[in-house]
């Protein structure tokens, strides 16, 4: 058999099988991600994947590129240092909703504000999987989690709205049901200069799905199919997620802003003239 699985050359095959549960959506996002890299034309040696901690945090460890499994919540500031030190690298932060938006929320908003040239992919399974299914900042109201045994009464983040408000230049949301659209969004995000953000709603059948009586992964995917409404260009204020009701998906934001590095170089060139020395690689 000469045709290889398209995902294979991006995987550390000597680490397979992975640790993710049966039906977990993270692997699905990785399939789409690797096909997006292929189509983007970005060489593997110019790509770095940085993850935080958690189930999605393990993505970096399975990717056969320069890959960094950092600390809980701090993938973005690590990626910030990496990108500023090695500007010719395409830096992708690949992590989960708890990692990126609870413990790491402060870093997300500031990286978006600065418009650092990086792509952030959030696999949003609405829960902390690795630690046993606790409440995250994206858990919908009423949802059961191990630390909200009677249901969640906190209002969750609307991630696309947050990303847009803070300055992201590209914002899209899809579910793991929408594999071709997800792949396309990831490719667009990879090729977008500036802070790009892709949220992927993804099943955690072992914890979130089971506790909330959604069923197994296949059942949850079927709810994505029936609940999703594609609205490209939707107002991100109106894409909140609930336990039920529509899941608005699509490409919401695609705009231009000067990146952190371009701003820095232009600014110092203007202020310092030929006294300014650009950082060498």
């Amino acid at each position: 058999m000469s045709v290889e699985n398209p995902v294979e050359r991006y995987l550390r095959s000597d680490r397979m099988p992975h640790i993710w549960c049966p039906g977990c959506g993270i692997g699905t996002t990785v399939n789409c991600f690797t096909r997006a890299i292929d189509e983007s034309g970005i060489p593997m040696d110019r790509l770095a994947v940085v993850s935080g901690i958690g189930c999605t945090g393990r993505v970096a460890g399975y990717m056969h590129v320069d890959s960094f499994h950092t600390t809980h919540g701090r993938a973005i500031p690590f990626a910030t240092g990496l990108k500023l030190a090695a500007p010719d690298m395409k830096v992708v932060v690949y992590s989960g909703d708890g990692d990126l938006f609870a413990i790491g929320g402060n870093h997300f908003i500031h990286a978006a504000r600065r418009n650092l040239d990086m792509t952030v992919i959030c696999v949003n399974n609405l829960t902390y999987g690795m630690t046993g299914g606790q409440l995250t900042p994206t858990t919908p109201e009423e949802a059961i989690a191990s630390t909200s045994p009677y249901g969640n009464f906190e209002h969750p983040f609307n991630l696309p709205y947050l990303a847009e408000s803070c300055g992201a230049v590209y914002v899209a949301r899809w579910t793991t049901y929408h594999v071709t659209q997800m792949k396309k969004a990831m490719k667009e995000a990879l090729l977008k200069k500036g802070f790009s953000f892709v949220e992927v709603i993804s099943p955690c059948p072992t914890l979130y799905g089971r506790r909330n009586r959604i069923g197994d992964s296949l059942d949850e995917m079927k709810t994505y199919k029936t609940r999703s409404v594609i609205k490209n260009g939707a107002d991100t204020k109106e894409v909140d997620l609930g336990m039920t009701g529509p899941i608005v998906v699509g490409k919401f934001v695609d705009r231009e802003r000067t990146t952190y590095q371009d701003a820095m170089e232009a600014f110092y060139s203007r202020k310092l003239g030929n006294r300014y020395v650009r950082a060498s690689q």
Binding site: V3, M16, G27, L218
Partner: protein
Amino acid sequence: MVIDAERCKGCALCVEFCPTDVLALSSSFTAKGYHPPEIVRPEACSGCDLCGMYCPDFAIYGYRL
């Protein structure tokens, strides 16, 4: 279409979302006790690779010759 049954964890996403109904869950077991998919309508496969995109375990993919 290629199946690496030993990577499969039997979630059946490939079976459900194959647009041409090429697959069915097999009654056989993998070493870990999962039912992997099997090809029941090979002539119907278009090589679209949706199965490969869905598979959370990198255990299946389609290709066009």
